[in-house]
């Protein structure tokens, strides 16, 4: 990074630290914070979508859809979510490869044979010959889908409750005005449910932030991975030898998460105030009185 970093063994003190903290491995470490933020940015809307679908299905008058929606919501209740994380990543991967094997293999056999999962090499995802980039991208995609599936179930639970919390009278009034099912749903129910959903969704967002270290368990090179790699003690064979500094790296991660939590609290607090405006709730009433 800097010119004086050419021979790290010759420098000391602050300049050593400056060189150490800008080594190529450290730059990769800083980028991995981007991976975490990217995961949050992609997962949150997808999970919201899954949750919305799940909640709508759970309210559906069609029995199979209703049962499916309710089962999806109930799925994550009694079982630790980490079990789902570990399960879905392998299950999704094998599912994708099995489906692909049906299409591309010359003689697709049942892949779960004894102690192995075997598909022909054309059906591997990504192909063994592809770039390292595609392997990383595929791993990340599996992680996103897994996170979205698990959190979607939690969102569905919150949104289902929020839809039930919208006053019946609102919907009946809309029907009395001659709106059909779809119109009542999109124009009355959906705009009003968010204020009821927000406390639950805020809570889920906090939980989503705090579950991102699990990316490490899913095999993605995230901040936990780099903290362990960089912090481990380095002998003289390395450019920047140092004792075991993992503790400090983890303290840095702790600070990162605490800052994220604090920032989210601020933003969500403002959002809550905005959604409460003009609503027939205690918070909305308080705002109306304060303004008058």
């Amino acid at each position: 990074m800097f010119a004086f970093c050419a021979d790290p063994k010759a420098i000391e003190g602050l300049s050593w630290l400056a060189c150490y903290l800008t080594s190529s491995k450290h730059l990769a470490f800083y980028w991995s914070f981007g991976t975490v933020l990217l995961l949050l940015a992609i997962t949150a809307p997808i999970a919201l979508g899954f949750g919305f679908g799940g909640a709508t299905m759970a309210r559906s008058p069609v029995a199979p859809a209703r049962i499916f929606g309710k089962a999806y919501i109930a799925m994550v209740r009694g079982i630790p979510d980490i079990v789902f994380f570990m399960f879905f990543v392998i299950a999704l991967d094998q599912g994708v490869e099995y489906v692909k094997s049906l299409a591309v293999c010359s003689d697709p056999a049942w892949p779960w044979q004894g102690l192995e999962f075997r598909v022909c090499k054309e059906a591997k995802v990504p192909l063994a010959t592809s770039d390292a980039f595609w392997h990383d991208a595929y791993g990340f995609t599996l992680a996103v889908v897994t996170f979205a599936l698990v959190f979607g179930a939690f969102v569905a639970n919150v949104l289902y409750g929020a839809m039930q919390a919208v006053p019946r009278a609102q919907l009946e009034t809309a029907e009395a005005y001659g709106m059909n099912h779809g119109q009542v749903f999109w124009r009355v129910l959906v705009p009003q449910m968010w204020v009821f959903a927000l406390p639950g969704l805020s809570n889920l967002w906090m939980i989503l932030i705090k579950s991102t270290p699990l990316l490490f368990l899913l095999g993605v090179e995230d901040i936990v991975y780099y903290a362990r790699e960089l912090g481990g003690s380095k002998t003289q064979a390395y450019e920047y030898p140092h004792p075991d500094w993992r503790l400090w790296y983890f303290v840095a991660l702790l600070c990162f998460y605490l800052l994220m939590t604090k920032a989210s609290e601020g933003v969500l607090g403002r959002l809550a105030a905005r959604l409460s405006k003009g609503q027939a709730t205690a918070a909305g009433e308080a705002m109306r009185k304060a303004a008058a």
Binding site: V76, I79, P80, I82, Q94, L115, K210, V224, L247, L254
Partner: protein
């Protein structure tokens, strides 16, 4: 050599504690082995969950009271403790605790001429239990703090009108009401603490001689058989049973706390999702 299921149970039923057959099964995995080993691992999940809850309950009460105190000397430390443990991932807390504990001198620490051994603290049974204890104390303290603040004003005024003040007021009015109001949320906290115990052996703390928890063995099977469709649902099955038991046990306490109230005012326990910490 094939074993009957009963022989498998005898060989592996207490494997997670280090008793019975030493070598884990390597080939010809049976459903019975799955159920036995994963069930054996559940002993650790119950151990961590139950002990952390028991110790955490006391610390949570102290923290909740400290957070509600007027004096900033009590309030600020409690607020910070709760913020740090609720605001950061349990996974990172485990890592930090482990890295800190291994920094302790191996030979032991000398205090007043006595050598206190430290190596046991880096073992999961002590170190991870300590982290879970602090973590659940923080979450429960926030619940109890919220409950403490929502005690109806009238109850406290009525107590004072009867001449009940100070410690008596706390012991007989505030504390039981706080527990009663906070209990449904605390039940959820207990359930998710049990769920969180599955993280222990995936965050630094090594499973000494392959003595791990339910998820550790499920992961072992999935790695060996490349088939996630059997071990993970078994873990799920065991945890549903555990969740049902916790709900039942806490429901009994809830009934006790609400016993003086008319039927329509009793607070019911509802399961709310609150996954990873």
């Amino acid at each position: 050599m094939t074993m009957t299921c009963w022989e498998t149970v005898q060989a592996y039923g207490l494997r997670s504690l280090g008793y019975g057959e030493n070598l884990l099964p390597k080939t010809d995995f049976t459903l019975c082995q799955h159920f036995t080993l994963i069930g054996s691992g559940m002993i650790w999940n119950v151990y961590f969950g139950a002990l952390a809850l028991m110790f955490g309950f006391f610390l949570a009460n102290v923290l909740a009271l400290a957070k509600a105190a007027h004096s900033p000397w009590l309030r600020k430390p409690a607020e910070w403790f709760i913020f740090v443990f609720r605001g950061s991932p349990l996974f990172i807390q485990f890592f930090i605790a482990y890295e800190t504990l291994v920094l302790l001198p191996r030979a032991g620490v000398e205090i007043f001429g006595l050598t206190v051994a430290t190596s046991w603290m880096t073992k999961a049974w002590a170190g991870a239990l300590f982290v879970l204890f602090l973590n659940t104390a923080a979450y429960a303290a926030e619940i109890f703090y919220g409950a403490l603040r929502s005690i109806p004003k009238g109850d406290l005024e009525a107590a004072e009108a009867y001449g009940i003040t100070g410690w008596q007021k706390f012991r007989r009015i505030q504390w039981p009401t706080m527990l009663r109001l906070g209990w449904p949320a605390y039940t959820n906290e207990a359930i998710f603490l049990f769920h969180a115990t599955t993280l222990v052996f995936f965050a630094s703390f090594p499973a000494f001689r392959q003595m791990g928890d339910a998820l550790y063995y499920a992961n072992y099977f999935a790695d060996k058989t490349f088939n996630p469709f059997i071990p993970y649902p078994i873990v799920g099955f065991y945890f549903i049973l555990l969740t049902l038991f916790v709900t039942w046990a806490f429901g009994r306490v809830n009934r006790h706390l609400n016993r003086h109230l008319p039927q329509n005012l009793k607070s019911r326990i509802r399961l709310r999702p609150n996954l990873i910490r």
